[in-house]
Symmetry: C2
Subunit: 360 residues, 2 copies
């Protein structure tokens, strides 16, 4: 078996230790004689797995007691509907800050359920910037303000939590969740698909302040109803059990790394190395404004687009995979989430140097 | 490692061969150097996995060309909303046949989106029967007729597809999906959570006749929109990749068993053995009318409820697990899906005989 360095934007590389443990436990979880996939979700064994994962996530993020932590199906795209369905029960107004493709999709879906207001957008710079807080045109009486702390496709990331006063702040944190410490108390809702930093695809975490639950729109499907799911410990119906288990293993790995402060330091170093290399080169470029560059997703362009296919083929041959950029941006993208080891970033930079020498 | 016979109603036992293959491929799927969990869902490797699984399911069920096969998140409970959201776009009327707990939940959820009519119910017999087709009070102009071919909790199963004329027939087939041949052309929509006969929890198959798509209610979340998901090959957003892969392995196993005709013969034999034993005993009983007993879920009562705890503890000690009946029915329940080997049913009967001798 040989493993590659996989720069996929998500689903993304997982810690080898986590995969090794899943492999070892596949047919027999801790002497139960069954796989985690085969367990009744109501049984003691799986309930202990779910509770352990939930407790670890609460510890990692220091989640206050007045917040519920849910593990739901449907992805962050499901929450594009879930957030307005739960939070627009009595007020159809909300503000959306659009800084990339995912924010655009979120506001489009919200328009099915209310009147979302595009309070700020950086589309005029093709999402290479983030509009300054003082330029946001917020509504006086919005039910919430929604933003995307990290845009996976464009590679732009808020470096701080924006201040929106007393209005509940809602974040689609999918692509930088658990990559740095976050003050959960500043948020109304945080949601995140697992498949970047938290586990495999097929499960989505929703961290919601309790007073925001229990007043959904009448058309809210029960699987997306926060209060009902919270009351049922996210088991209103059969949850995505195995994905939940894998998240628990990933959280345990993260705790072993030293938690979010420790992983942030590593993520900062990995990203700085790659951006510094790109900025020092005349061959590679990154279009994003320096102050809002993502630590997780690093898009970059080659000086000559005609070399893209060669770059990708030679990278693949060097076991550096899934580097093709999103079609809306072009070029390359290296996603360097928590589980991408620093050696992977070093190997990528080495390869880029060599490729530049041959073609630059 | 020792494996148990796991009679869980779902998530349920999986074929050992399937788990062994998943284990072997956990860190490196077919030389890609990555786990299936780590693959971009847009990449060649995962797309081939998804297409292979879909093709196998189409072959197993002989799905006609004018039907789409979707792999969605949210469970069958998600489809309790998904069906009316997609099929009540212009007609809020639908008929529901209620033969157990799941049918009750389905009609309750549908009431959020239209006016479902309870056209028949067997609640007056505590769901131990199925109302005869000629007693159904169907609406003249319903958008669809919904029923539950197998009720997991009560253990009642339709033995044939009911005739509802030209109205689209919709089936929550979760707990007998792939346990017997089905004429898909008689249905408008078939949906099924995977976690009984098709794979792990976290993925739901929807087989939908193409002319029924594309006219959803305006509030339909995009993740539940059949047409949008069909157009995107179920990848409108990141799908439950690993669960999809596990379903593909399970379908391949089923094809190796000889397909649905072959598995039906085995399932018939397994169920007949267990029911015959129960019927011949004065100590055990099954309350369900003989002609509608489920081949998948066999609830049974002990002559004395005070023995339930002993029965469960001794069964557990004999590596026969998860036999406790649902709280709404009491007693025991043995779920004997496709992946439960005949030797498991034999072992259960042996144990029940011994227990009866000691306590009868």
């Amino acid at each position: 078996m040989s493993r590659v360095y996989n720069f996929s934007a998500g689903p993304a590389t997982l810690p080898v230790d986590v995969l090794e443990q899943a492999k070892a436990e596949m047919l027999d979880w801790q002497g139960t004689g069954m796989s985690v996939m085969e367990m009744s979700h109501r049984g003691k064994a799986f309930v202990s797995i779910a509770e352990d994962a939930t407790a670890r996530l609460r510890r990692l993020l220091n989640v206050p007691d007045n917040y519920s932590v849910l593990f739901l199906q449907g992805g962050a795209a499901g929450q594009f509907a879930g957030v307005p369905l739960n939070l627009m029960g009595s007020n159809p107004k909300a503000d959306y800050i659009v800084t990339g493709n995912w924010g655009k999709k979120a506001i489009k879906e919200a328009a099915k359920y209310g009147q979302p207001n595009k309070a700020a957008s950086s589309e005029d710079t093709t999402f290479t910037t983030i509009p300054g807080r003082n330029s946001w045109q917020l509504t006086d009486d919005a039910a919430f303000v929604h933003y995307t702390p990290n845009e996976t496709i464009q590679g732009v990331e808020f470096q701080d939590t924006p201040d929106v006063g007393g209005v509940p702040l809602v974040a689609d944190m999918s692509s930088n969740f658990l990559s740095r410490p976050v003050d959960v108390s500043k948020y109304g809702v945080i949601y995140a698909g697992a498949q970047k930093n938290a586990g495999p695809a097929g499960i989505t975490m929703v961290i919601v302040r309790n007073d925001l639950m229990g007043k959904p729109q009448s058309g809210c499907p029960m699987i997306l109803d926060y209060q009902q799911q919270a009351d049922a410990d996210s088991m209103l119906n059969t949850p995505a059990c195995y994905a939940w288990y894998m998240c628990g293993l990933t959280f345990a790995w993260l705790e072993n790394q030293g938690g979010l402060d420790a992983i942030e330091a590593i993520n900062k170093r990995k990203a700085a190395k790659l951006y510094d290399f790109i900025d020092a080169s005349d061959f590679y470029s990154n279009p994003v404004e320096t102050s809002v560059r993502s630590r997780m997703n690093v898009p970059f362009l080659l000086a000559d687009d005609n070399l893209n296919a060669d770059f990708l083929a030679q990278a693949e041959a060097a076991d550096l995979t899934t580097l093709k950029g999103h079609r809306s941006v072009g070029g390359m993208r290296a996603s360097i989430y928590n589980a991408m080891p620093e050696s992977g970033v070093d190997a990528l930079i080495d390869f880029m140097q060599t490729f530049e020498k041959k073609n630059g």
